[in-house]
Symmetry: C2
Subunit: 651 residues, 2 copies
């Protein structure tokens, strides 16, 4: 055996290459050596039927599967083939033409929006995989404008508008956001003043900060807009209401007393024609008020079944919850697609090692630690997102359903969109230069979906909704506090895992409560106290989502075909260890874990990654993303062939 | 005083708004209340001369300041005005025209590259603020192709090429990366076989994986390429050498025995015409070998002063270090610019609160915790990056300089580019929808600079260089291990701070050494052991950069005008607390901090943010970024005015 000194010398020699050489030192090790160097894998024989896992993750009833297949066929139309090299005008035109193909086929319709929301959701998710501009453009028209007509309007509106919406005869916009007011919708400045002499509303933009801003379809194609405005009758203010306002004539010219400007070039979603709107004493008939929650009679009498202004407002924005559900679901799909692309590349791309036998880059621990925890996280989130979709589509929602829908959609929209952003970043980097090429798909999603964190509710604002709900539950005595578990011998035991995540959430909610109390004791207002705690509030929102994700995952494992349980459990363990590791400072500072347990959890990550190594490729290939949507050349088994001379990609 | 039950009821009432309302509850608090609700600020009277801080951060000698001003004047030419709405061809044409303006003015030249590298660097940094495609296109031509001619070639090459390079008569490419080989440059497949009968080299692309890939200027404008190829003479292999190979004729047609394809649309840098190259028995004269480190005589005799192939290779890639220096410097500039834009917006944008008196969004703790630590980090990094630039520009480098340059450029390129990516993400989100608009500048940088993490050395590979150097130092007995400091009473004391960061680095380097030893004990190869430790290696690389950043910052504070010390110290404390907080799990798991100290550090962040609140705007306005380059409408004092009706931005 070598002496210590000999070994040191040996190491120093190995570690002293020419200083400027930009590579690591694995130049002599073969792939097999590296494979063997991993910790003993307990999962080396893990196998399952890929189609079975695909279908279990897909979790769709039969009629939806049929609809999906039909839409998949439609999406084989060459107009949906990838195309990137366009200026804004070309992007918008292509997106419009794509939208018209969908509409002509009746693949998306408002008629179905309420009747079979799951089918609607899943169709929109699929369009998002093809072209996010397309799904957003149609989403503005159907999920926002159409949804307002459907769920804030009454029969007269349904009769007048639904057919024209379904045929794109009346392309719609959603006029909520103003330059000066995004998150604070209740603060919009646009006014709607009732003129009883003519039985019209007069819509006005009182200042430049009141211009409607970022309005999808407004720059080019929209003809009507559901405008959020403060209602005034005889100088009395009745709060925010929604009105149908014509903004363009059928020939495409701008309507009278409306001014339109273009929002211009953006980071992504170039195909969506976002615009800005001003109204100058724009008169609209009394019938154009979407009057389900509040109406104005001919003589100017205001009638509503909901007396409180803010509760009325709440009812009016309630239908927007669908947008958050769709963002969470779409972000998860895109995460999976990016992981499929990057993981396939990682198992075929080789770099360093002996000539002719270079090492697959997935063998590098840094690569494993970037991809595998995110694969596990995507699988974990599948079950919580699926549950959210089910609650959203529940036709007769209990009051618990309604509350869960609000809290879960807020929390999951925020956490899944951030997770997706993180995954797109990691996969971009894992693919190196190839990740920068539009042809490999990650780039477009990175640009287009960046706005996920902002629209349909800023993520930080949404997490406040989650925290507020938990605090109310605590104050009402409906929240059970959990103790930490300091003596777990098995960190892979679900009971230990869930207790650990429950403890963190519970510790955060009671900390939050105490901190706010302390602020009140110091004579500060609740609002001041709330702002002082926004860091805790954000952590609490995320902790809640982690906990429900773990719980839903465990339910999913319980209900899974037995052949899938082992691989799902591996994912659950990695998800858990990764999540705890990310927040280890909190657990240790607040005595939520013993240091030895924390260390065990930290150490488990590399072992779980080793377990994942033999099956990582099979796992992403079991993801419920139809192969048809993956065209990245680096995702193909022989990526070199995809770049052979003469094979052109002029798009 | 209220009873506990009354207070609870009060809170529950406040916290139970209509469930769907997408806003927080601060609707009744005025800005003043929120301001007062912050912890007592010790810095409320902190003032300094903004110009003084600007100049201290700029740190440029007088002749460079003059050159900067001159370049700033040139950059007022309308061709440099922002423009985004273009397809790839238009982007490339505009970038070329911009490049020609720079070249015609002689603002960047190879002649100066070695003579005054600091001036060259700073000029390139400035171009990057205007248009990263422009700086990258010129960077490929000068810093890569030209640098190869200058520093790998000899006098005959200088005489033949330098003038034509400086005038763009000979636009150049840098043919290092191949489809199959990015990080592993030594593994390139392209061959250069010497034919002594004609005294020519025959350049060949033996397979599709050997095609030169991502070659800037290759798709459209390049006429010559410095090609990295394996040299063979009489079937003997001499390792990688660099050759000047013509790829286009002066009329723009493709040269004989060369095939070119386009890399196509990318996430960013659309103005750079990246292309792919194949060589088919392309014959070039013997003189086209850049022969500074190895030459072939007429009769085929190989001569070199460096006997080892890999050392020779090291010398050939050594000049590339400048690219890493430039990436670090440019990434820091862009970070500062993004922070200036987002911070100015945060101090003027208002949302929620009582009507007519809404709260500036910077008042929200979540906003402060995103922007302020990054402002502090940017200031901190300024001094380390400045030091790196000074080492790089040192005309007579000591061997310590050479080593530091390698390690510092590797570490800082990785850490600063990741920090920049994080800052662009945070500022994008902090600006909400406005962050998504190209007009507000963050979007373009987000797309264009995404590749920073990959080119000029993948960040993970670069951090291995840092770790390897530290391990060698340890093994050679030149690394002093540091003990943790468990009883600090003042976390704002520099000695405590630096000891804490030194301990982490030292703990990681000794852990790494032990882990590798243990692997060797188990019979594994050094390469296997190295791969098993890649997670520790990455942490170590980052820990090293944090430590040198803190040390350089402290030196910068020591040397600063006394009026600037207080604000710089505030930044240092926030930088330190943030960095430790990010990695608290490590400190606590490895007993590097007492739990009570860890908690103190955690708690300090909100207090330091409060201290920053009154001065955050002044601080970013003192950043050394010329106002001329900031055109984002949201960065203007009255951003609403920037969006008034009729003010068009058709670019």
């Amino acid at each position: 055996m070598e002496s210590y000194e000999e070994r040191v010398r040996n190491i120093v020699n190995h570690l002293t290459p020419p200083r400027e050489v930009l590579m690591n030192d694995c130049s002599s090790s073969s792939e097999e050596q590296i494979l063997n160097s991993n910790e003993t894998s307990s999962s080396s024989t893990l196998t399952w039927n890929k189609q079975e896992l695909f279908e279990y993750l897909e979790a769709a009833p039969q009629h939806i599967k049929v609809a999906k297949k039909k839409l998949q066929e439609l999406l084989k139309d060459p107009i949906f083939a990838p195309k990137y090299n366009m200026n804004v005008q070309q992007w918008r035109e292509l997106t419009l033409q794509r939208a018209l193909v969908i509409i002509k086929a009746g693949a998306i319709s408002l008629a179905e929006f309420n009747r079979d929301p799951m089918k609607y959701l899943i169709s929109m998710e699929m369009l998002n995989l093809v072209d996010p501009s397309l799904s957003v453009k149609l989403g503005v028209h159907f999920s926002l404008f159409g949804n307002a007509v459907l769920n804030l309007g009454t029969e007269k509106h349904h009769i007048k508008y639904i057919k024209d919406i379904d045929t794109w005869k009346l392309p719609g916009c959603f006029g909520m956001t103003e330059l000066g007011h995004g998150s604070n919708v209740q603060g919009v400045e646009t006014t709607a003043t009732y003129d009883k002499t003519t039985q019209e509303f007069i819509i006005n933009t009182p200042s430049d900060s009141a211009q409607k801003f970022w309005i999808g379809n407004a720059a080019c194609h929209g003809q009507a807009c559901s405008v959020f405005a403060q209602l005034y009758i005889d100088n009395v203010h009745y709060g925010v209401h929604v009105f149908i306002v014509p903004i363009r004539n059928a020939d495409g010219t701008t309507a009278e007393n409306v001014r339109i400007m273009d929002n211009g070039h953006k980071l992504g979603l170039q195909g969506v024609d976002n615009g800005r709107l001003w109204f100058d004493n724009k008169r609209i008939p009394r019938d154009n008020l979407l009057n389900k929650f509040g109406d104005v009679e001919k003589d100017g009498t205001y009638v509503s079944s909901i007396p409180s202004k803010s509760k009325r407002f709440g009812s009016m924005v309630a239908p927007l919850v669908g947008g958050r559900v769709l963002i969470a679901a779409s972000a998860l799909n895109v995460s999976k697609m990016a992981l499929m692309i990057a993981t396939r590349y990682a198992y075929s791309r080789r770099q360093f090692g002996s000539k002719g036998n270079e090492i697959r880059i997935i063998e590098y621990l840094t690569h494993q630690r970037r991809l595998f925890p995110m694969i596990a996280t995507s699988v974990a989130l599948s079950f919580a997102v699926e549950k959210l979709k089910r609650i959203y589509c529940e036709p007769n929602k209990s009051s618990q359903n309604v509350k869960d829908l609000h809290v879960w959609s807020s929390g999951l929209k925020a956490v899944v969109s951030w997770t997706k952003t993180n995954i797109l970043q990691l996969t971009r980097e894992c693919c190196g230069g190839q990740g920068f090429s539009s042809f490999n798909q990650i780039a477009l999603f990175k640009s287009d979906l960046e706005i996920d964190m902002t629209y349909e509710g800023d993520n930080h604002v949404l997490l406040q909704q989650v925290a507020r709900n938990l605090l109310v539950e605590l104050q009402k005595g409906r929240y059970t506090l959990t103790n930490p578990n300091h003596d777990s011998s098995n960190i892979h035991d679900y009971d230990f895992q869930v207790q650990t995540l429950k403890w963190r959430e519970s510790d955060l909610v009671s900390t939050l409560s105490q901190k706010i109390m302390a602020q009140l004791d110091q004579g500060r207002s609740l609002e001041q106290g709330w702002n002082t705690c926004l860091d805790t509030i954000t952590l609490l929102g995320k902790a809640f989502v982690d906990r429900i994700t773990l719980e839903e995952f465990q339910l999913g494992i319980k209900n899974a075909p037995s052949s899938l349980k082992a691989v799902l459990e591996l994912c659950r363990n990695l998800f858990f260890s990764w999540k705890v590791n990310e927040d280890l400072g909190y657990f240790l500072c607040h005595d939520g874990l013993a240091t030895s347990t924390a260390q065990k959890i930290q150490d488990s990550i590399n072992v779980l990654c080793s377990d994942m190594l033999p099956i990582g490729l099979d796992l992403v290939n079991s993801f419920n993303i139809p192969e048809q949507f993956i065209h990245a050349p680096i995702s193909k088994p022989d990526y070199i062939q995809e770049f052979r001379y003469g094979l052109k990609r002029d798009y």
